[in-house]
């Protein structure tokens, strides 16, 4: 078992993280490769260094960690609220906690990932466009995204790549789940997507696969916006 390649999906219990976890796991069984896909979700407090360290230590016994997909944003960040109505605890939960979780997780990834490994963050596009009543979420997303860029520069000497894929907020929250009765935060965008609608999960899993190829090894610190041409950042 220790010779197996392991992919770890952080934030695998819901939304896009869950969908990516399922997609990568299915891909393993479809093509007959022996990669192990491990999901870390609500059972872990990602803002607790000892809990994250213990989880990675356990995963490392299953094989070589050569790919990590980070999709974690604290759930409280998705509840819209004006900042003037927040107390410090609410601000922390909706914004700063996700930043700490990213920091702690990246530190543990560095200790456990193999040289040449691939780290992919999946985040919502809200940080790029800004959304009223989601200020802590937008702050956290931009902070995490640029933290990853700094990490990409630091880990390049080990040939570890760190890239970010951004998807629309609804896709991030829902993944492959139907919206049902859930009320999603309103996001002002630059308009409709240029391309016809499709599965954000398939789009993202395809990009993760691309980033995992030899050719993908030339990309690091990059931002890939998988929103079918909605934001089109300048």
């Amino acid at each position: 078992m220790v010779n197996e390649n392991v992919t770890v999906v952080i934030g695998a219990d819901r939304g896009i993280g869950r969908a990516i976890f399922d997609g990568l796991r299915n891909a393993v069984s479809d093509d007959g490769t022996s990669d192990v896909v491990v999901g870390l979700g609500d059972e872990i407090d990602f803002a607790d260094p000892s809990a994250v360290a213990a989880s990675f230590a356990e995963i490392a016994t299953r094989g070589t960690i050569n790919r990590v997909v980070f999709c974690f944003i604290d759930e409280s960040a998705f509840t819209p609220a004006p900042i003037i109505e927040m107390d410090e605890a609410a601000w922390d939960a909706a914004g700063e906690r996700s930043l700490r979780a990213a920091l702690i997780t990246f530190q543990e990834v560095h200790r456990n990932i193999a040289d040449g490994g691939r780290v992919v963050l999946v985040l919502p596009t809200v940080g790029a466009v800004g959304v009223a009543d989601l200020v802590p979420l937008c702050s956290a997303v931009e902070g995490v995204r640029v933290m990853a860029k700094a990490v990409a520069r630091r880990w390049g000497a080990r040939s570890i790549t760190v890239n970010t894929i951004e998807v629309e907020l609804s896709a991030f929250i829902l993944g492959d789940e139907p919206v049902g009765d859930r009320v999603l935060p309103a996001v002002a965008t630059l308009g409709a997507s240029a391309l016809p609608a499709g599965s954000a999960t398939q789009d993202v899993v395809g990009l993760i696969d691309m980033l995992s190829t030899d050719a993908g090894g030339a990309l690091t610190g990059a931002l890939l916006v998988a929103d079918r041409g909605t934001v089109m950042q300048p």
Partner: protein, 255 residues
């Protein structure tokens, strides 16, 4: 002749030195009443003198931005004395902001030093200033950094917290636009106390940094970073919100 900020009341945090001091003096040159927010007012009398000499009205305020009571009191003092707040410039950063950080082994305590000043205080100051900025249809200006855009390898914590300010600006500009409050940021490349120390200890390294700047030098806080900051706090920028203005002598062109 009317100046851009005549009679406007502006609080600048972290105004004891570096960019904050330069911006405070530039605001004074533009005619503002300048709240000089510092942790130790007794050590910033020279800043007040410089603000006065530049034509502004200095108000020295004790304002450790990690202490919500202090920042609230600083704003309250300006309101009690002048009855208005037209802009808040949050420039303060952790004392350790320019220290290279061993990201992979750094402690949460160090992260907290950065986050408390740059992330949490940004939120808290904005909330405390909100009713006054709404009344004046004023401006919130955050001094971020090119590091928060490029992702600096030696300054990963600083990069992350400064980037969070850009997300904050974009979102809050949309949230407060209907109230007439503009929210912007400036990403300066300028001479800082840390760079002044470096100039004394390793002048060749400073020369190498300067060689990367198309305009051939590091920015002066007062004359290079100050005027764009004045602009963003003035009525001349009445239709500008949600933006980051990179003021770096052309050092960063791909951000």
């Amino acid at each position: 002749m009317t100046k851009l900020l005549d009679g406007r009341v502006i609080l600048v945090t972290g105004a004891a030195a570096g960019v904050g001091r330069g911006v405070a003096v530039a605001m004074a040159e533009a005619g503002a009443i300048v709240g000089i927010g510092v942790r130790r007012p007794e050590n910033a009398v020279d800043v007040a003198d410089e603000v006065a000499a530049a034509g502004g009205t200095p108000v020295l305020l004790r304002c450790d931005v990690t202490d919500g009571a202090q920042s609230a009191a600083a704003i309250a003092e300006l309101m009690a004395t002048y009855g208005r707040l037209d802009a808040l410039v949050h420039n303060a950063v952790s004392n350790r902001s320019s220290e290279p950080t061993d990201f992979e082994n750094a402690s949460l305590e160090l992260w907290e030093e950065h986050a408390s000043v740059t992330v949490r205080a940004t939120w808290r100051l904005a909330v405390q200033a909100y009713p006054h900025l709404k009344a004046s249809r004023g401006a919130l200006l955050l001094m971020t950094s090119p590091a928060g855009i490029e992702g600096s390898a030696p300054l990963p914590f600083y990069s992350a917290v400064k980037a969070s300010q850009r997300g904050f600006v974009r979102a809050l500009a949309r949230e407060w636009g209907p109230d007439g409050i503009r929210v912007n940021s400036v990403a300066p490349l300028a001479i800082s106390p840390a760079l002044e120390n470096l100039q004394a200890t390793d002048p060749e390294r400073v020369k190498r940094i300067e060689s990367l700047v198309p305009l051939g030098r590091l920015g002066d806080p007062r004359t290079d970073i100050g005027p764009p900051s004045v602009f963003l706090c003035s009525d001349e920028a009445r239709y500008v919100t949600g933006q980051t203005l990179v003021v770096s002598g052309g050092r960063f062109t791909s951000l």
